[in-house]
């Protein structure tokens, strides 16, 4: 878990701020874990629409989530505002793995880090397909290679 906990804002390339909503807090008066997944979807799709020319209602290929994950380090609570940072950790021809850092407004230590993998499929047939070239080009701008793990260093 330590690897993701050590993320800082400088590890991300595209940022958006979101207000928490009353319904994000659960009975324990902090933001529920499922809200973080809503945020991942929101920043990823905003980037695809605004920076990669994706038009969800009409695009021939769409991104399906095949796996998701999140690690939680510190609680958040309504009405806090959060800053989300986005990066791409893997980029293939038909799939992409995103990572999102969730920061309290202005903070540099993440409350949570998570993300998911999109596989692009044909809208109707839902068969795997190449992602649109504008999408791949846009996503490549967020790609950051991981440093080799310390065990590999000599």
């Amino acid at each position: 878990m330590s690897r993701l906990k050590s993320r800082r804002r400088a590890d991300y390339l595209y940022f958006l701020s979101y207000r928490t909503r009353w319904s994000d807090n659960d009975q324990y008066s902090h933001v529920n874990n499922s809200t973080y997944n809503l945020w991942f979807d929101s920043i990823v799709n905003t980037y695809l629409i605004e920076c990669c020319s994706l038009d969800p209602p009409t695009s021939k290929s769409i991104g399906l989530v095949i796996s998701s994950y999140c690690e939680f380090f510190a609680p958040l609570s309504f009405p806090q505002v959060v800053d989300l940072g986005l990066r791409v950790n893997k980029l293939g021809n038909s799939s992409v793995t995103y990572e999102v850092g969730v920061f309290p407004q202005g903070g540099d230590e993440p409350s949570a880090v998570g993300g998911y993998t999109h596989v692009f499929v044909e809208r109707e047939a839902r068969r795997s397909t190449l992602m649109p070239s504008q999408v791949r080009e846009g996503l490549s701008k967020l790609f950051l290679e991981e440093p080799r793990s310390s065990s590999a260093k000599l």
Copy 2:
């Protein structure tokens, strides 16, 4: 319906901006009606917390919603940003009726206008009670009297 449709930003006194989320859009690719209720809860409770000293996890009295309503005039769609405006239409000793105008970012014609009535109750017993004085004082700053209806004008 025309009365609420003619609301403008100048009819509201407290504003917050919210990003739409991917999940706000439904199958018809516009923001689902239930999202507006989530926004009403969010701006009302943000105001109660930040401007009226309400602390939801510990306050002795809490506001329960006893009725809600919304009229929809124009669609919104993710990833639009919305500006919410809040006013108080009725203010009693134990209840308050809020109205929220939902505007596309920077726009002056509402996409929707709605709100709800809070009755304050004791946290445990859930019996009606006076609202805290700081809450009533804060809410009174958002109170705007309606002009008499035209039928009453001579």
Copy 3:
């Protein structure tokens, strides 16, 4: 408010049961008001799909919500199960007003009663249009005329 509070199960014609979800409860440990709107959408659209042959991804006309309302009489709390009852209060050629009663599982007194008005529009142009004949036929089976108000009885 009393008129809706006096609704009983016999006032509704189509029923579905829903489990509450953890996220339905808000900080005050009861089901949040906005959850009821999610339920209205769910029973209405289930009826449209299963009993009126509506296919949301492909239908030429779609129902847009133009106004919604809800009155709340008694709290619910996760993990309660709720029984929803559906009726149609007004049925035109291009619009319909639904009413939904929300009952605790097996109970006869509603926790809340609300609903909304759908106007059917062309999918792309979003101009008002006749509802599909199968939809109108299906909805007519749920139509219940209100008794005249007592003040009108002589």
Copy 4:
């Protein structure tokens, strides 16, 4: 990924059925990935409340999610009904890792498999603590040891 995809109903010990809701479908007309996390929270907390005597509004210790994951194998779509199966994969004194299988109603092949890890903390101080004995006892009934991986078999 293949390990979780091969799960069957017999791999789970506690089941609940949930109706999908209209809002669960996203613009692509299938259940959005974040809905699965809402379901995980729902079956886990229903089990904790109904079978482990946990009372979320008053319990001295509460379970915080520290990591979550989900793998998606086949789409679901409103108004389908889903059957959720719950098991416990790891059980310590202060933490537990749940796994949930999401099946289309009556089906034996999962649409998705995921879950999360709860760490129990003191309600106010949020320091790690032992889980209540009734909780641990209840969870132990759902514990299923993984068979050793085939590579380890000789």
